[in-house]
């Protein structure tokens, strides 16, 4: 392993230890609330990025693009695990 690789590995371990130490200090209530809060923050960042890239977009178009990206992320997450199983009310 090169000196550069060793330094990178040391840095990764240091970041991991720091992350774990911080998490051990947080309460369960904080951690449970952080998931949706971080999601809302990431959605705001995504909307801002789309607005910067497409200044001509209306709010509705930006929201549509956000929904499109979320659908893509969900398809990737689900691809290896889920299969369609009909509709909940039995209707086509």
């Amino acid at each position: 392993m090169s000196q550069f690789d060793e330094q990178t590995l040391d840095l990764q371990r240091s970041i991991f230890r720091s992350k774990i130490a911080k998490a051990k200090r947080a309460t369960m209530a904080q951690n449970l609330a952080d998931g949706p809060k971080l999601f809302d923050q990431s959605m705001r960042l995504m909307r801002d990025a789309i607005r910067t890239e497409h200044p001509e977009f209306s709010d509705a178009q930006i929201q549509g693009e956000v929904r499109r990206r979320l659908r893509i992320a969900k398809r990737i997450d689900d691809a290896s695990i889920y299969q369609d199983a009909g509709t909940i009310d039995g209707q086509p």
Binding site: F16, A23, M28, L32, F39, D40, S42, Q83, D84, I88
Partner: protein
């Protein structure tokens, strides 16, 4: 309404309808490990399809039920997705299956409070989070497992985890993950 409030509304509706439930997925690994953003809240619910429709009705127009169901092929559970329209936050309802580990996980669930919500939520134990995520073992699941093991080092019931991992054929993966963790002894002094 933000995503946390959208989640709280679902918990209230499930409680009001008398549907036993448990919050799993990233929320449960956040509870015991390192919090990360999650685009959905996964609930295990002990009810039938009719009750899921009643949940969707009770949530009202701010939520949209996807009538398409999905079958989860690893543990044989059925999923329905309800989206909170304005935030895009998904609520996934997994009906409690006959899977032996799912049954035991549901029996062992515990109540936890969520910062910012008045009501508590039911969550699995840390051990059951590790066991379930080992079964899925997607990249994000493996990251969550590492974090839960590291944060809860010294507190986990390893006999329980190894028993189920052995049953599910994920014991080798578990041992690889434990061996790959950096030494964290210094954290015991905190």
């Amino acid at each position: 309404m933000d995503s946390l409030e959208a989640l709280g509304r679902v918990v209230t509706v499930l409680d009001d309808l008398g549907i036993e439930h448990m919050l799993v997925g990233a929320f449960s690994s956040n509870a015991y490990g390192v919090a990360r953003a999650t685009k959905d809240a996964d609930f295990v619910v002990a009810c039938d399809a009719g009750a899921v429709l009643r949940v969707a009705d009770a949530l009202g127009e701010e939520y949209r039920l996807d009538r398409q169901m999905q079958f989860e092929t690893i543990t044989n559970t059925v999923r329905n997705v309800i989206t909170h329209v304005s935030t895009g936050f998904d609520i996934e309802l997994f009906r409690l299956s006959d899977d032996p580990h799912h049954q035991e996980r549901f029996r062992r669930r515990r109540r936890g409070m969520v910062g910012g919500l008045a009501q508590g939520v039911w969550i699995p134990t840390a051990e059951d989070v590790v066991v379930q995520k080992l079964r899925w073992h997607r990249d994000k699941d493996l990251g969550d497992i590492r974090n839960v093991i590291a944060v809860r080092s010294g507190e986990l019931d390893w006999e329980y985890i190894r028993r189920w991992a052995g049953t599910h054929g994920t014991l080798e993966l578990l041992e690889q993950m434990v061996a790959s963790l950096p030494k964290l002894d210094f954290l015991d002094d905190d």
